[in-house]
Amino acid sequence: MNDNTMSIPHLIMNASVVVQLVMLLLVVGSILSWVVIFQRSIALRRAKQEYNQFEESFWSGVDLNELYREIPADDPRHGAEHIFQAGFREFNRLMPKTRNADTVLEGVQRSMRVAWSREEDRLTQHLVFLATVASASPYIGLFGTVWGIMGSFQSLSMTQQATLATVAPWIAEALIATAMGLFAAIPAVIFYNRLSNNASRLLGKYEDFAEEFHAILHRNLQGRDGKPSAS
């Protein structure tokens, strides 16, 4: 066994068709998972930056009406801005119609929950694919390995003298499938955990923001409720 016959490209080219298909599937899965990893990483980083910017502008003491008017109505926003926009629009629409603060707050909360749910769906998009690659590719690679070892034993049964040298290339090329499965699965697992953690933290921030905004509206309604009842 010299280097040439045991090198990885040589082993891949000499593998059986099933093992080669498995390897191809794993390579495609790995590439797609890396695409998802990069795309989600960039998207989550941007969402976090935008959230930080919005939070800064929100708590800078600016008037909420002004803040709301700065956002164009036909331009859909994401993240905390989207939640704020949905809640404040609902608040503005309900305020002229009812005097009941609880109804208004209930409507605002519902619309904000819908917006939050949409944000969650947007942030965790494609992460399921990453989870699928992470969990399935070791099994796919193992299937390729088992198939290759079956082939190696079949060829071993035909030889007269079973030495390590006759089995070694077969087992090596079979094990490459498992290696590729793990190669696809390990980054997918790591980045799935990291990205889903980032997304859930961001969603938690959105939730916090929604509660705080709800609290502000509630405070305003309490003041307004008190005024008409008092007058």
């Binding site: 280097d3 045991m6 090198s7 990885i8 490209p9 390579v27 790995s30 590439i31 797609l32 890396w34 695409v35 998802v36 990893i37 990069f38 795309q39 960039i42 998207a43 941007r46 969402a47 935008e50 910017q53 800064e56 502008s57 800078s60 600016v62 700065e70 164009p72 331009d75 859909p76 994401h78 993240g79 947007r122 190669f183």
Partner: protein, 413 residues
């Protein structure tokens, strides 16, 4: 917040949080290419690693290692074929153990060559001596032949002389006979005359007639005598002429014989020269044949050596494979005691039975750590029946009945 506002406004037409897929795809492919290139570039250093990371380094020490003997022999042969100069000392390129085995063979070759040359020289000398002896023998035979010829000629001359004597004798006899005949005739004539005279006296009448008859008779007889004498004279003359003729013929014959002898001598010389040339050619041929035979013998010897070397090679390979099997088995069975340092080194001597069973395992060179030695012996005992010994040829089996194994823990615990 003016800055943030402008940014938001600028980004407004497209979704700021919707990241496109082209950049991630490029990045992902780049990552994979980088990994593949890294694995390919790093591969050679990976392939070196397994050698150093073998757990056990039990090495076989006692028997010789395999060398490229056959190749050397063929090289020698090629050298011999190209020029019959003696081969230079082969460079033993065995890396680990410089074994003394391949060196004597070239010396043998040289010796064989020298022997062959000597033999050829000896044969040439012998052939020359033979040629000389042959020439001498030829000369002797020649001399003999000449002597014989001379004798023959002498005999011939003697015979001729005898013949001449015999002729002379015959002539003398013939003359004597003629004389006798004449005397007789005379005596008869006398007697007749006496008788006639008596009868004439007795018979007168018839006497005259008888006398006339007798005269006629006498005349006739005288005539006869004259005739006989003339005849004898003629015969003598003829005899003398013949003798002269014979002498001339003799001289002629002798001259002829002399010329013949000269011719024969010339022919003989030529023949001798021819024979000498042939003998020389023969000797040359014999020398050549001897040299060729020596060459062929040398070639055969070399071929035999090459074959023997090839056989030895095969046997050596078989022995090496058996040693490898033993080493693997022992390595697998060896449990290195904890705390054994890498510098420990023990040599275990193993004696095997004819079917590969373990007869004895003893410590040949102790490592100084008794636990380590014990573990090595236990490893040998665990791996013990080396039944592959039976697959080897018998002479190899004898060689491999006793094996030394050196145990050194590798760099891996």
């Amino acid at each position: 917040m003016v800055k943030g506002k402008t940014q938001i406004v600028a980004d407004a037409p497209r979704d700021p949080q919707d990241v496109g897929y082209t950049l991630p795809v490029i990045l992902a492919v780049a990552v994979h290419l980088a990994i593949i290139i890294f694995s390919l570039v790093n591969w050679p250093s990976h392939s070196v690693e397994p050698d150093s990371s073998s757990i056990v380094q039990a090495t076989f020490v006692s028997t010789e290692t395999f060398t490229d003997q056959a190749q050397q022999v063929t090289e020698q042969q090629a050298a011999m074929n190209s020029a019959t100069e003696p081969v230079e000392e082969p460079q033993v390129s065995a890396p680990e153990v410089a074994e003394p085995e391949p060196e004597p063979e070239p010396q043998q070759d040289n010796q064989a060559q020298q022997q062959a040359a000597e033999e050829a020289a000896r044969q040439a000398a012998q052939a020359e001596a033979e040629a000389l002896a042959e020439a001498q023998a030829a000369a002797e035979a020649d001399a003999q032949r000449r002597a014989v010829e001379a004798e023959r000629q002498a005999q011939e001359q003697a015979a001729q002389a005898q013949a001449r004597e015999a002729e002379a004798e015959a002539q003398r006899q013939r003359e004597a006979e003629a004389q006798r005949a004449r005397e007789q005739a005379e005596a008869e004539a006398e007697a007749q005359r006496e008788a006639e005279a008596q009868r004439a006296k007795e018979q007168a009448e018839a006497e005259a007639k008888r006398e006339a008859e007798a005269a006629a008779e006498r005349e006739r007889e005288a005539q006869e005598q004259r005739e006989a004498e003339a005849e004898a004279e003629r015969q003598r003359e003829a005899e003398a002429a013949k003798a002269r003729e014979e002498a001339a013929a003799q001289a002629r014959r002798e001259a002829e014989a002399e010329a013949q002898r000269e011719r024969e001598a010339a022919a003989e010389r030529e023949r001798e020269a021819e024979a000498q040339r042939q003998r020389e050619a023969e000797a040359e041929r014999q020398r050549k044949a001897a040299a060729e035979a020596a060459e062929a013998a040398m070639q055969r010897q070399l071929a035999g050596e090459a074959e023997a070397a090839a056989n030895a090679q095969q046997a050596q390979q078989a022995a090496n494979s058996f040693i490898n099997i033993v080493r693997r088995a022992v390595e697998q069975a060896w449990l290195i005691p904890p705390g054994a340092s890498n510098s420990l080194n023990a040599t275990i001597q193993i004696r095997l039975g004819p079917s590969g069973e373990l007869l004895a395992a003893s410590v040949a060179t102790s490592s100084g750590d008794s636990a380590f030695d014990r573990s090595a012996i236990q490893a040998v005992e665990q791996a013990a029946p080396f039944s592959e010994l039976r697959d080897l040829p018998a002479d190899q089996q004898r060689n491999l009945r006793q094996i030394n194994l050196r145990f050194t823990p590798g760099d891996v615990r």
